[in-house]
């Protein structure tokens, strides 16, 4: 089990398969405002975030932002 300190969570999180949790979480934090609503990823443990990411993004970080974009019909996993 891999634990790393996350500057966004300000605590140690279980990062599971994530190789670079800061980069992944920072990316999602930048997408935290969804139509004016706060999507607070800090409330999820690393395992949930990892699972959610990989389901959505097929392990391709560059596609993540696009995959999360509400206008993208390919968002459906």
């Amino acid at each position: 089990m891999l634990f790393k300190y996350c500057i966004h969570c300000r605590r140690h999180i279980r990062v599971g398969r994530l190789h670079n949790p800061h980069a992944w979480i920072a990316r999602v934090r930048t997408l935290a405002q969804i139509g004016g609503q706060l999507f607070d990823v800090r409330k999820f443990c690393g395992a949930q975030v990892a699972q959610g990411f990989f389901d959505f993004s097929d392990r391709h970080a560059a596609k993540l932002a696009h995959a999360y974009h509400p206008s993208n019909p390919q968002f459906i996993p």
Binding site: R10, A32, Q33, I34, G35, G36, Q37, L38, F39, D40, V41, R42, K43, F44, Q48, V49, Q51, G52, D55, F56, Y68, H69, P70, S71, P73, F75, I76, P77
Partner: protein, 482 residues
């Protein structure tokens, strides 16, 4: 001190409690206190507007001595001039104000803020002097130097002090703000939660982030199009117009939103998107009407933000809101150099927007129902670093509103004397270079407004965990709100 588990339990209870239960709590609080802030009647609208001046406003040039003596000098203005040297404003650059609670003394408001000065003189504005982050009272620089009192984490640091002004938790690092906690407790007073009780015109912020609630961020507009409004999901339109692309995209998004997910993160993400879709529809409808009176808001960042807030207040009935908070942010106050010129350019922006907003509130008939207050990271050093000032601690804030017991300076306006590098101490509050220890805590400042908004006094420690170090729980914490 409540544990986190206790707080979560109480917050959850509050969130699902009925209005009559909360009203009873409010009445009990009223019965047990004398001369306290008047809690709102059932159904009465009240709103707080925070104007955050991020960067650290040099607020001892926003509110200065003008005439009379300080505790350490026969002429407070001469003392101010000596301490500030090349940062000192002349009396010609100030608007003299006449507080009713500082006998023998008058003060000066920066000349770039004539409307704030006029609001003060008319009894609709007040100042809170030398307010800052504190865990417990700190009386002198010896207590700081010898660490006999607990001090806020990260003093003089932007990120820490911004966070602490917004959380009122100076003893640890927290991402939950005191307005967010208020929403956790009292948002159920609002008829619907489709649009949050907490609305931001500057995106995400800590102040309005609670345990169970978070801000709803709206777009204040921009230079080219100051209209602004609710933020739609990209490509989504409520009315499936004739545009087939919009129709197809909206249909695709609706089909996505209908899906169920097993992963908690995915579930929450979908829930947020559904909330965004519904909030957009409600907020857009509620704020569609024109504001009365053709008030001209300046096309500046603060002007556009306050105009958007006026629209949300005008649409409060449609939004189902009897309690709201609003967050405005104007950055760029970290004036390590060129302080006088930069303040002369920026304070008028705040002042003009504030004046238009006040006029608009009058036309909406809600001046007694809205309280505006300023906040900033910290005050700045009284001494100059050569035409600039550096990060410090206590500073001055203004409050504006029809319920403000105005034309007064609350707290204690400190001596602006700066201790010499060697020799006898002249000002025990000066920790060096004119970094003043606050004589009023943020907790006192915020507690007054929390009570006014309808938070029961018994719940204040849930919002402001150190309030017990500054306020006994009866009467008004500072007394600036009726």
């Amino acid at each position: 001190m409540k544990t986190r588990r206790q707080f979560l339990g109480q917050a959850s209870c509050a969130a699902v409690s009925s209005i009559p239960i909360l009203s009873t709590l409010l009445n009990l609080r009223l019965a047990g206190s004398v001369a306290a802030v008047t809690a709102p009647a059932a159904g009465q609208y009240r709103a707080l507007v925070c104007i955050f001046q991020s960067g650290g406003n040099d607020s001892f040039n926003m509110l200065t001595p003008y005439s009379g003596a300080s505790s350490t000098a026969a002429s407070a203005f001469a003392e101010y001039t000596a301490s500030r040297s090349d940062l000192a404003l002349g009396q010609a650059q100030l608007t003299e104000i006449h507080p009713t609670n500082t006998p023998g003394r008058t003060f000066g408001v920066h000349g770039g803020m004539p409307q704030l000065a006029a609001l003060f003189e008319s009894g609709n504005a007040a100042f809170v002097a030398n307010v800052g982050t504190l865990i417990e009272p700190v009386l002198n620089r010896t207590q700081v130097a010898q660490a006999t009192k607990r001090l806020p984490l990260g003093l003089y640091s932007h990120s820490d002090q911004i966070e602490q002004w917004q959380t009122s938790v100076p003893h640890s690092r927290s991402g939950v703000g005191w307005a967010g906690k208020m929403a956790d407790l009292i948002k159920s007073l609002n008829a619907t939660q489709t649009v949050s009780m907490n609305i931001s015109t500057d995106g995400s912020n800590v102040w309005q982030t609670g345990v169970t609630d978070a801000e709803y961020a709206v777009d204040p507009g921009n230079d080219n199009d100051p209209t602004g409004g609710a933020v739609a999901l990209s490509g989504y339109a409520q009315d499936y117009a004739a545009n087939p692309f919009v129709d197809a995209t909206s249909g695709a998004i609706d089909s996505q939103l209908a899906l169920a997910y097993t992963n908690l993160l995915q579930q929450t993400f979908q829930k947020k998107r559904r909330s965004a879709r519904d909030a957009y529809a409600l907020y857009s409808t509620a704020t569609a009407g024109a504001l009365p009176g053709n008030v001209v808001f300046p096309n500046t960042g603060v002007g556009r933000q306050l105009r958007q807030i006026a629209k949300a207040i005008a649409g409060r009935t449609a939004l189902g809101a009897v309690r709201q908070t609003f967050f405005v942010n104007r950055g760029g106050w970290d004036h390590h150099s060129n302080t006088l010129a930069l303040q002369a350019a920026m304070l008028p922006e705040i002042d003009a927007a504030l004046g238009a907003f006040w006029t608009q509130l009058g036309l909406l008939g809600v001046q007694p129902n809205v309280t505006i207050f300023s906040a900033s990271d910290f005050g700045r050093t009284l001494t100059s670093n050569s035409q600039g000032s550096d990060h410090a601690w206590g500073g001055n804030a203004y409050v504006v509103g029809g319920s403000v017991l105005g034309r007064k300076i609350y707290g204690s306006y400190p001596s602006l004397a700066v201790n010499p590098d060697s020799g006898a101490e002249v000002n025990p509050l000066d920790t060096g270079r004119g970094r003043l220890i606050p004589t009023t805590s943020c907790d006192q400042f915020f507690a007054e407004m929390a009570l006014w908004l309808g938070v029961p006094a018994s719940s204040l420690p849930l919002i402001l965990p150190n309030i017990g170090n500054f306020y006994a729980g009866s009467g008004a914490p500072l007394g600036f709100l009726a």
